[in-house]
């Protein structure tokens, strides 16, 4: 036993020495990154091999091109982190990044310019299902000669090799932990729309079905997709929100709705770390998306672009991206739970991944979703419920009452003009309500307005 233990100790010590030796070989920026993430250097094992590219690329990039232009959705402060690691490796290549967040900037401008024989960028990141536009224009180069392309799983690459995933996202839901108990969370997506728990404006929906519903639609079929969409938008009566998905998270924190769909795991995580009262939850199957990039065919800095892509697809690039914006890596060698903010939300659950038919599915989804979204179904006031209860508390001179409903404390506002009050069969006012009175309260759910209060 002692021998085994000694051998193990020797092995661990040997591994540690190797790790330390490897760590010392890494550029300073990479070491800083690993230290900030509290990762061992062995997470980057084999990185030197991964970063080997044809000498001709290096010569052209360092001596002739000297820069690479990138369109991406990364925030400047996040980009600085990514770039600090890349620049330490390749000081001869200057990276110019533009933050592009609208479809006009990401797709239309570069495509329109390309058709006029002009290049605005060498690389575009964040293609969101629009690769076909670039394919039709013959705009993207084949990337199969990029060495680390092989480290990306096949389902995260286009079959014709013109686009490859760089990061993954889990798009699920966030909820306000002060308003929603864990046991109330839906286990499946069908549970979400079949229960009234999140009906009547308690659920907030952003207009980005492509981020989550498209995956579910494709994995469950058209009939399921249509039924679900109708139940979600018409029966459940959610709040339709114009705000972006990240801004929606802030509204969940505030409690404007009990829950929001869709929410990205990597955006919810940092808020939880700051102490915001939200949780992240994924019903099954879990919508799992990838963010793709493409390199423009004939781009002015094509060699530098390929070197950059190769680096981003390497373990070092993938970890740098995680360091900058908590993006889950797509590299096959980095599928570890350290990179997932809420591992319990996705562990052991089936993933809904987009397939080859997603472009066509997207069109069918939009045809169904868009009109329902726009009609919204009209405002339906919350359903009034009548209960027999004993008034527990009279707040602000009767402007609000609190009472017990099946062991839970409910409140209802009492309007001076709209709420009909009777005490002992005679018309009464708010001031005539007293704690302990046995009353029949007709009100629009917890926190809603009372329509009538009939007390004995």
């Amino acid at each position: 036993m002692k021998r085994i233990s000694a051998v193990c100790s020797a092995l661990v010590a040997g591994m540690a020495m190797t790790t330390v030796a490897n760590a010392a070989d890494l550029p300073k920026a990479t070491q800083t990154m690993l230290k900030a993430l509290k990762f061992n250097a062995d997470i980057l094992s084999g990185v030197d091999e991964e970063l080997k590219v044809p000498q001709a690329w290096l010569d052209a990039a360092n001596n002739k091109e000297k820069e690479v232009i990138i369109y991406s959705t990364h925030r400047p402060k996040d980009w600085q982190k990514i770039n600090s690691v890349f620049s330490a490796r390749y000081p001869g290549i200057k990276v110019k990044q533009s933050e592009v967040r609208t479809s006009a900037r990401r797709y239309i401008r570069p495509l329109a310019a390309f058709k006029e024989g002009r290049y605005l960028t060498d690389i575009t990141i964040g293609l969101s299902g629009n690769v076909y536009l670039f394919r039709q224009a013959g705009a993207f180069a084949d990337m199969s000669d990029v060495p680390n392309y092989k480290n990306i799983p096949d389902e995260a690459k286009q079959a014709d090799h013109i686009a490859v995933a760089t990061r993954t996202r889990y798009w699920c839901m966030t909820y306000n932990t002060k308003k929603v108990k864990k046991e109330e969370l839906p286990k499946t997506w069908d549970d979400l729309v079949s229960s009234e728990r999140f009906g009547n404006k308690k659920l907030m929906i952003g207009n980005r079905p492509n981020n989550w519903l498209l995956n579910l639609w494709e994995s469950q079929g058209d009939q399921w997709g249509q039924d679900f969409t109708r139940k979600l938008l018409v029966n459940l009566k959610p709040q339709l929100r114009k705000e972006g998905m990240s801004a929606l998270l802030n509204l969940v924190v505030l409690g404007e709705g009990d829950m929001a769909v869709p929410s990205a795991m990597n955006r919810a995580g940092p808020l939880v770390e700051k102490g915001a009262p939200i949780g992240f939850h994924c019903p099954e199957p879990v919508p799992y998306t990838v963010s793709e990039l493409g390199v423009f065919k004939g781009a002015p800095h094509i060699n530098a672009a390929k070197i950059w892509v190769n680096w981003l697809l390497s373990k070092e690039g993938q970890v740098a991206q995680y360091w900058a914006e908590e993006s889950t890596p797509v590299h096959t060698g980095l599928q570890r739970k350290e990179f997932i903010f809420f591992p319990e939300a996705v562990a052991g659950k089936k993933k809904a991944v987009l397939g080859a038919e997603s472009e066509k599915t997207s069109v069918r989804l939009a045809k169904y979703w868009d009109p329902l979204w726009l009609q919204g179904g009209g405002y339906i006031p919350p359903k009034a419920t009548a209960i027999e209860t004993k008034l527990g508390e009279i707040i602000n001179g009767g402007r609000k009452i609190a009472f017990d409903v099946k062991g839970k404390k409910h409140t209802a506002s009492v309007s001076g003009s709209r709420t009909k009050i009777t005490v002992g069969g005679k018309p009464g006012k708010r001031g005539s309500l007293k704690a302990g009175m046995q009353c029949k309260v007709n009100y629009a759910g917890d926190g809603g307005e009372a329509k009538s209060i009939e007390c004995k």
């Binding site: 310019a113 605005l120 114009k242 700051k274 726009l374 009209g378």
Partner: protein, 591 residues
């Protein structure tokens, strides 16, 4: 025979005017036709196009399918009722408030005028989505800070005020319409000769009768121009209906256009959006024709004559303090409360309702973090350059256009006026895409300003020329031709007439337009987002938009607070300088 002669004379006169038209009038018409005509044609062609990438216009892919799709959709007509109530309500609230405020500062002895001058336009600097969001944080029935305070803490209100309602939308949009109308009305009221009102009073007319029969009638061209302008603004703008209407299933016309631009298919169906947006263009053309009929007898509205005038203030007496209360309430609702929300949000680690715990955790971190943005300083500098170029360019071009429209007999003057108003009816994204296409083509003809600050500047000038010309038209209408003729008779050349007669009298309007454009340039992101290229050409509005899209509300709050304080100071300085000079000139004239 007589008829023939008359016809001949008419033809001769028309032909003569065409032949002898001033060359610079023609140059101006051609310039405007190029600047405005291209986006307008782009809008029309785009509405017929079936291609996915909007710059790929091809004759073989043009048909009326987009029109059939959107105008035969019953949903489109279902939106008209809400749209009607919302647009009329917001325009009425906005213009009546603006007229009251302009009258108070220009024609009465209301105290604290400098705060009204500086404070009212500040609403313009706040992007619509931020202001609407501030109102959600204040008056949402679920989480509104103000609702919580008034209902739960003080018990003043029986139930929460619901900002997610048609009334809420009218209130917030109405507040947003005030500054533009105010900036247009202030110079008009400032230029009014009080002797006309005095004459009415001397003839026995009461104050309300004088207001109705003299003041309002003299202001008619200005008021009509403002109503038309603001009506289309309310019809077109989406931020307020989007943030306050959609969560309560209240949809208006602009919601549908937004929906198409943000379709679930990710890439917008620009053709359909353009087909719907054509209604803005139709309304704009009909409105300008109606307007030109209103001002057909323009000499009726001349107020500033060669006899000199001195603005006289009306004592408010007992009404002084209610007037102050109205001003304070307006400033509170339109700028102070939203600003307080932003200050509060900018100091939080994450957005949360006010509480003891929240106040204990306040931090300046988001202000300090602004320094980490590597492009912020460059963006601020670009924004300053853009403000100076765009504001000055718009003032000069708008003045020249209005001079021709109002003062000349140029045969194309009405068309010129319509051209100048059209950009207000073209959605920002269409204008941006049209200029993107033009700049891409321009490189082939040696005109390569693609992606630069200049490219944004030109698009902005076109975008704001409608406002500039509405304000200038109304102001020039008020200046009697006697003044120019007297200068000509005295042997003054054109430039001297401009410099010595028009410039001093128009100065309040120039400043008003300059400030208005400045405040719009600072906040508007739609055009720069399409046109700028590279971080070195980024402007502040783009950085704010990106932060907002990323959900960094605290950072947006921090940058917004700093921006509004800075703009407040600039507005006070510019107005004090310009109105100081103007008053000096008026006083000299009076003597």
């Amino acid at each position: 025979m007589a008829v023939e002669t008359l016809e001949f004379r008419a033809t001769s006169s028309w032909f003569e005017r065409l032949r002898t038209g001033n060359p610079w009038h023609w140059a101006l018409l051609v310039l405007m036709a190029l600047l405005v005509g291209l986006p307008a044609v782009f809008l029309v062609l785009g509405s017929l196009s079936q291609t996915q990438v909007p710059t790929d216009i091809s004759l073989s892919a043009l048909n009326f399918d987009n029109y059939l799709d959107v105008w035969f959709d019953p949903v489109t007509y279902g939106l008209f009722y809400n749209t009607f109530i919302y647009v009329f309500g917001a325009t009425a609230v906005g213009i009546s408030l603006a007229a009251t405020l302009a009258w108070l500062v220009e024609r009465t002895d209301c105290p604290g005028k400098i705060w009204i001058y500086a404070g009212v336009p500040m609403t313009l600097a706040m992007p619509g989505m931020l202001q609407a969001m501030a109102w959600v944080l204040l008056l949402s029935p679920r989480i509104g800070f103000l609702n919580t305070f008034l209902v739960d803490e003080l018990g003043i209100l029986p139930g929460p005020i619901n900002i997610y309602s048609l009334g809420g939308m009218i209130f917030v949009e109405g507040l947003r319409l005030v500054p533009t109308a105010f900036l247009m009305l202030v110079p008009l009221m400032r230029s009014m000769d009080p002797s006309l009102e005095e004459a009415a009073a001397m003839s026995g007319a009461g104050p309300s009768s004088t207001l109705r029969k003299v003041t309002m009638r003299l202001l008619l061209p200005g008021i009509v121009a403002i109503v038309i302008y603001q009506f289309i603004t309310a019809l077109e703008v989406f931020e307020v209906p989007g943030i306050l209407g959609m969560p309560a299933d209240l949809f208006v016309f602009s919601t549908k256009i937004y929906q198409i631009h943000h379709s679930a298919t990710v890439l917008p169906e620009y053709g359909k959006a353009n087909a719907l947006a054509m209604i803005y263009l139709v309304v704009a053309v009909v409105a300008t024709i109606a307007y030109s009929r209103v001002i057909v007898h323009q000499e009726r509205y001349t107020i500033v004559t060669g006899k000199g005038y001195r603005p006289r203030t009306q004592p408010l007496g007992f009404w002084r303090w209610p007037a102050v209360a109205l001003v304070v309430l307006f400033l509170l609702f339109s700028i102070l409360l939203p600003l307080l929300v932003f200050i509060y949000v900018s100091l939080l680690p994450f957005v949360q309702a006010p509480s003891l715990e929240a106040f204990q955790n306040l931090t300046l971190q988001h202000y300090l973090n602004l320094g980490d943005d590597p492009f912020l300083i460059q963006a601020i500098w670009n924004t300053i350059v853009l403000i100076v170029l765009t504001s000055t360019g718009t003032v000069v071009l708008a003045f020249l256009v209005s001079l021709v429209v109002v003062r000349s007999k140029f045969i194309g003057r009405r068309f010129l006026d319509q051209l100048a108003f059209m950009p207000h009816a073209i959605p920002g994204i269409v204008l941006g895409l049209a200029f993107l296409w033009v700049y891409l083509q321009g490189a082939n003809f040696g005109f390569d300003i693609f992606g630069s600050i200049w490219s944004i500047c030109i698009a902005f000038i076109v975008s704001y020329i409608a406002y500039g010309t509405r304000a200038m038209n109304a102001a020039i209408l008020q200046i009697h031709k006697d003044l120019e003729e007297a200068a000509h008779v005295s042997g003054a050349p054109h430039w001297r007439t401009m410099w010595r007669v028009f410039y001093p009298l128009m100065l309040p309007t120039f400043v008003g337009v300059w400030v208005w454009v400045m405040l719009h340039v600072v906040r508007s992101a739609s055009l720069p987002l399409i046109l700028y290229e590279g971080p070195e050409n980024q402007v502040l509005a783009v950085i704010i938009w990106n932060m907002w899209d990323e959900g960094e509300m605290q950072a947006v709050g921090a940058i917004g607070v700093l921006m509004i304080v800075l703009l407040l100071l600039i507005t006070v300085a510019v107005r004090s300088f310009a109105f100081g000079s103007s008053r000096h000139i008026q006083t000299a004239q009076g003597h």
